[in-house]
Structure formats: structure tokens, C-alpha cells
């Protein structure tokens, strides 16, 4: 029996780089022991990472599929597995399996559209793979706007990449905001939902929205005021998972399993499901 083809049996991988992004988020670069990318994925898909003896958990793949050398995961310290990962050093082996879930429809529904990304805090992690994918294939899309907010400047994920790459791209506009004033910040101050309303976007955009539930709720209210419809808005969900293949039974929202029917949902699809996420 070829163990490598089995759904629940992971591959060994190795951490080749650890970057402290914010006080509680680190970005890990992961490859196979012989230095290759563990598997191909599509923007928005996830992978199960584990440290034997500690546990296994689902993480969004934050690097773009256009990166053919390695995968990256931006991980916030908030539980057993993530705390362990945060103390891991370069050279540490872990296990990986995936990719899981449906990706954002980057080559179908998104094609030719103006895109508006809205993220709060660590929620930039799942959107970064989409953002870098559409930046890579920029001629396939219209204008790209990115609204991103965090508690403080230090809490902005991928700040270096945003300032050195994203803001310099033609056709890409980045709107950053932080919750409270701070000395070395001359950008916008305020919560993401209000900022989106202030910016007053045209409704010709497809929206990709991810953040804490409260941010999604108020941002959506703001978007509705601006005239956006739910079928224009995509998001990605996260629930407790064990198997990642729709069998262990815990990540369902109504009849849908986030691991295999999601994690990407359009908001009008979510409206047809119970509010249990």
C-alpha cells in the first residue's frame, strides 16, 4: 500500500524560514526534506500541519500558487499547535497534508473584474495568496483595491511586502488603517468597516472579505449601504477540523462542511445556511 496516496497520512516537511511578522504572528516557510514545494494548491486552499505529539490543525496557505519553490503559512499564536510552532526553529520538521477546500474562483468569476480585498488582522493570511496571485496575473483583472486594518502598525501582517511591493504595483491601491493613533503613523486611523464606507467604492467590484465575525458583520452592512449585493462578496471560513476531508463531522454549517464545501463561500450562499459559524 502506497502510504503517500492516503487521505489522512501526511508528508514530512521542514521549516526553512521563520519570520516574526507581528508580536503574535509568525510566517513559516515550508518545503519537503529534499527542498521542493510539498504540493500545488489554488488561492484560498488550506493545509493540515502537525507536530507529532502536539497535534494537527488546519491553516490557510498564505503564499501564492505562483510561488513554485515553497509554501508559506502566517500563523497567530493562540492554541497548542500554534504556540509550539512559534517556538520552532529553522530546520524543524513538521508534517503536512493537503491541499484542502475549494479555492477562490480566481480564474472564473474573478476574471476581468475589479477586485476589492478587505481584511482585518491575521485574516490577511488567507487573502495574501489571492492578492499575490492576481498581482502576478494582473492583466487578467481590472483595478485592485486592498483595504487592510489591524490594531496597530505593529499588528499589520506582511507590512514589508505591502510597502515594498503591493503599493508600487500599477493598478493596485492599498488602503491601510489602524485602530488607534500612534506616533510613527501618518496613515488612516479607524476601524475597517467605517474606512470602507468612507472610501465609498463603486459597486462594479467583486469583494473578497475576511476578518473576525464582528468585522465581517459591520463591513457587510457598510457595503450594503454602498449598494453592493451579497452575491458580489466572497469570504473564507474557519472552524475546528480534524480530518479535513468531510468525515470527522465537526466543521459543518448546516449540510456544508467548511473543509470540503468551503472554506470559500459567497455571502448569498452563506445566507442559505444556518448562522452557526
Amino acid at each position: 500500500m502506497n502510504a503517500r496516496n492516503e487521505a489522512l497520512i501526511p508528508h514530512i516537511a521542514v521549516i526553512t524560514d521563520v519570520r516574526l511578522d507581528t508580536p503574535d504572528i509568525k510566517t513559516f516557510r515550508v518545503v519537503t526534506p529534499d527542498g521542493k514545494k510539498a504540493f500545488d494548491h489554488r488561492p484560498g486552499q488550506c493545509a493540515m500541519l502537525s507536530i507529532p505529539g502536539v497535534g494537527e490543525a488546519m491553516f490557510s496557505i498564505t503564499s501564492s500558487p505562483t510561488n513554485t519553490e515553497y509554501m508559506e503559512f502566517s500563523i497567530k499564536k493562540c492554541g497548542c499547535v500554534t504556540e509550539w510552532l512559534h517556538q520552532a526553529e529553522v530546520g524543524q520538521q513538521i508534517t503536512i497534508r493537503g491541499p484542502y477546500g475549494n479555492p477562490f474562483p480566481v480564474d472564473t468569476e474573478f476574471a476581468g473584474k475589479n477586485l476589492l480585498f478587505i481584511a482585518g488582522g491575521v485574516a490577511l493570511a488567507p487573502l495574501r495568496s489571492v492578492i499575490n496571485y492576481v498581482r502576478h496575473y494582473k492583466d487578467r483583472y481590472g483595478k485592485i483595491d486592498i483595504v487592510y486594518g489591524a490594531r496597530s502598525k505593529e499588528d499589520l501582517l506582511q507590512y514589508k511586502e505591502i510597502m515594498e511591493e503591493w503599493v508600487n504595483d500599477e493598478g493596485v491601491t492599498v488602503h491601510l488603517t489602524i485602530d488607534r493613533e500612534q506616533p510613527e503613523w501618518d496613515g488612516h486611523v479607524g476601524f475597517v468597516p467605517n474606512y470602507v464606507k468612507e472610501l465609498g467604492f463603486d459597486t462594479d467590484k467583486t469583494v473578497i472579505l475576511c476578518g473576525p465575525p464582528i468585522m465581517i458583520k459591520f463591513t457587510l452592512a457598510g457595503l450594503t449601504e454602498l449598494g453592493f449585493e451579497k452575491k458580489q462578496v466572497y469570504t473564507t471560513l474557519e472552524l475546528k477540523m480534524k480530518c479535513a476531508i468531510g468525515k470527522c463531522g465537526r466543521c459543518n454549517v448546516g449540510s456544508k462542511y467548511v473543509c470540503k464545501d468551503g472554506p470559500v463561500f459567497r455571502l448569498d450562499e452563506l445566507d442559505e445556511l444556518p448562522n452557526e459559524y
Binding site: I12, V54, C243, G246, K247, R250, S255, P274
Partner: protein
């Protein structure tokens, strides 16, 4: 069709177990029927059904999946699975046979759960028709026929004999090897008619599932009755552990001192930490957890499986729930019938 006398059943068991491990329902020291490996002296239970369902044969309560050797920063993955031998389970009732189909739709769909598939492939199911269905039985609500239980081979008990009929290639091969006496189906036809007659008179004979099924999520999810129905639920999970179709599992690890073993074990949506994750819990109270269990059986599962219900009416949860809450009460309250 073949037959043997009830007295010679034991010698048939001996024949079967010469080639494969055979499990039959037998009473344990507490007088409870449990599937027991047959050996000379193990007696077939007279009880209608076993306390736990036979799902353990394919989806064990606890199962080691793989091992890891951890040395410094390095990890070695060790495949600890052993080749599965053929085995035979005798005495499975119609409800529990149907439950395998419910589980197959979960574990055998792509991506296939190879642990389950391997056991399913090597297991032979010999069902037994229910000559004495009980007052907690409601398999007929879900279109299951207690007189024709299916499986690889079906057995009927009638006028002091056991009648055997194969339903699959696997069953045919096994039955042919037993050297039983060939016979007509007259006694079995009479037995089936007798069972059908009893089924009509069961207290839950009129229970209907019409109010449930795919597409009813929003209609049923927000019903106010969930609160009163779940109020006394202890969250003990007994219903999920005796249930032949509950398939939720947890994945855990333990350090043996020589390495790490990753195993899975049954879990229950009735437990408070089932959906708890770092950012919170979408099912904070027992109302939500209780609702999830019944919505899954009666709405979500049929929605994803062409209308097949996730309950087979075995009645175990009716008999075992410490507060006497159960799926029948839920169906009667929400479905407004019987």
C-alpha cells in the same frame, strides 16, 4: 435457499470460523448482548440486538492510525497498519445493515477512508431477520424491512430451522462452502408475512419522517421547540456511542515513550468541546449541540445523500438515554405526527 436445524447452528459456526474469524451476538456476564468472537462454547444470544451496534467492525471506537519517531528536529513517519484478514459477522439486524450504507456514504466517498474501506472489503455480513421486533423499533419509518435485512447473506429463523440465502457474490461463496441442505422458501415466506404483521402493530408503526429530509434546514433550524427538547439533555453522548450511524471522530496523539502514536476515536457532537477552537465555539450551548445531532440525521445527511436518512430506527438511543429524550420525541414534536 438453504437450511440447517437450529441445533446444528453451532456446527455451521464452527465451519465458518475454520476459515475466518466469526463474531456473533452473545450475552456477557452482565447479560448484555455483545458481538463476541465465536469459539466452541460461545452461545448465540436470544436478545433482539446488541447494546452497541456492529459499526466497530469497520469503524472501531479507538484505532491507531500511524506512528512517528521524533528525534531532535527530525520526524519519521511509520506505517503501523497490519493486513486485514477476512472476517464474518453473524446476526446483524436490518437496521444495522442499513447503517453500513449510511457509513459507506461518508467513508467510501472520495477521498476514501482507507482504514474503513480495508475492513469493509474483508468483512462478510450475515444478517438475521427480526422475528421479535421490539416496542422501540422504528426501522420501517425509514423504509427498512426487518423481514428482509440484506447483507451478504440473510438468515431467517422459522419452525426450528435457520434458512440461509445469499445476496452478494461474497455471500454466495461463503454459503456454498457450508454444505447446507437446499430447500424451498415456503417457511421463509410465512415468516416474512408474520414479521410484517408484527411490524404493523408496533407502537411506533405510524411514525413518519415526511416532515424531514434535505432542503428543510431553514424551516427546522429556527424552530422554538429545540429549547424545550434539549433542556434536560446531559450532553453525555450515550446516544452517539450506541448509534449505528454516528460517524464523528476525533484525532489524538499519545507518546508511548518510544514514539508518538496518532489514533482516532469516536467523538460526539453532544460534547461541549467538539467544535471549540482557538477563536471560539459556534455551538456554545446544549441547545445548539442537541439540534446539530438531530438536524444531521434528519436533514443535513439526507440533503447530501439523495434523501437517505441518517437514522435507521434501531431504537438504541430510546432504550439508553438517561433522561429518555430521543429522536422519536424530536420527530413527533417537530413533525407533528403520531
Amino acid at each position: 435457499m438453504f437450511k440447517c436445524s437450529m441445533e446444528s447452528l453451532n456446527s455451521v459456526f464452527a465451519k465458518i470460523s475454520a476459515n475466518a474469524e466469526l463474531y456473533i451476538p452473545a450475552d456477557n456476564c452482565d447479560g448484555k448482548a455483545v458481538y463476541t468472537k465465536w469459539a466452541e462454547g460461545v452461545e448465540l444470544s436470544n436478545q433482539l440486538n446488541t447494546v452497541k451496534s456492529p459499526k466497530d467492525f469497520f469503524f472501531p471506537q479507538v484505532e491507531d492510525m500511524m506512528a512517528f519517531k521524533v528525534e531532535g528536529k527530525n520526524i519519521e513517519l511509520i506505517d503501523i497498519r497490519k493486513a486485514q484478514e477476512d472476517f464474518v459477522v453473524f446476526g446483524v439486524r436490518a437496521c444495522d445493515v442499513k447503517a453500513f450504507e449510511v457509513l459507506d456514504n461518508v467513508f467510501l466517498v472520495d477521498p476514501v477512508d482507507s482504514y474503513y474501506a480495508e475492513r469493509r472489503e474483508h468483512g462478510i455480513i450475515i444478517s438475521v431477520a427480526c422475528g421479535r421486533p421490539s416496542e422501540t423499533c422504528f426501522c420501517q419509518t425509514f423504509g427498512i424491512d426487518a423481514a428482509n435485512p440484506g447483507g451478504d447473506i440473510t438468515v431467517w429463523y422459522a419452525d426450528g430451522n435457520a434458512y440461509w440465502q445469499s445476496n452478494t457474490e461474497k455471500g454466495e461463496k461463503l454459503l456454498a462452502s457450508l454444505g447446507l441442505e437446499s430447500c424451498d422458501s415456503a417457511a421463509v415466506d410465512a415468516e416474512k408475512a408474520k414479521i410484517a404483521n408484527i411490524m404493523k402493530k408496533l407502537p411506533l408503526a405510524e411514525l413518519k419522517a415526511d416532515a424531514f429530509g434535505g432542503g428543510k434546514t431553514m424551516e427546522l433550524f429556527n424552530r422554538p421547540e429545540w429549547k424545550a427538547l434539549s433542556e434536560s439533555c446531559l450532553g453525555c453522548g450515550t446516544c452517539t456511542f450506541v448509534c449505528p450511524t454516528c460517524q464523528c471522530y476525533d484525532v489524538k496523539e499519545f507518546n508511548t515513550g518510544k514514539g508518538v502514536v496518532r489514533f482516532r476515536c469516536w467523538d460526539s457532537c453532544m460534547y461541549s468541546d467538539f467544535t471549540k477552537c482557538a477563536h471560539g465555539n459556534p455551538r456554545l450551548s446544549q441547545v445548539e449541540r442537541f439540534r446539530q445531532r438531530f438536524m444531521h440525521k434528519l436533514v443535513y445527511y439526507p440533503e447530501n445523500n439523495n434523501g437517505l436518512f441518517g437514522c435507521v430506527g434501531c431504537g438504541r438511543c430510546l432504550a439508553k438515554c438517561p433522561i429518555s429524550m430521543n429522536i422519536v420525541k424530536v420527530m413527533k414534536t417537530l413533525g407533528g405526527n403520531a
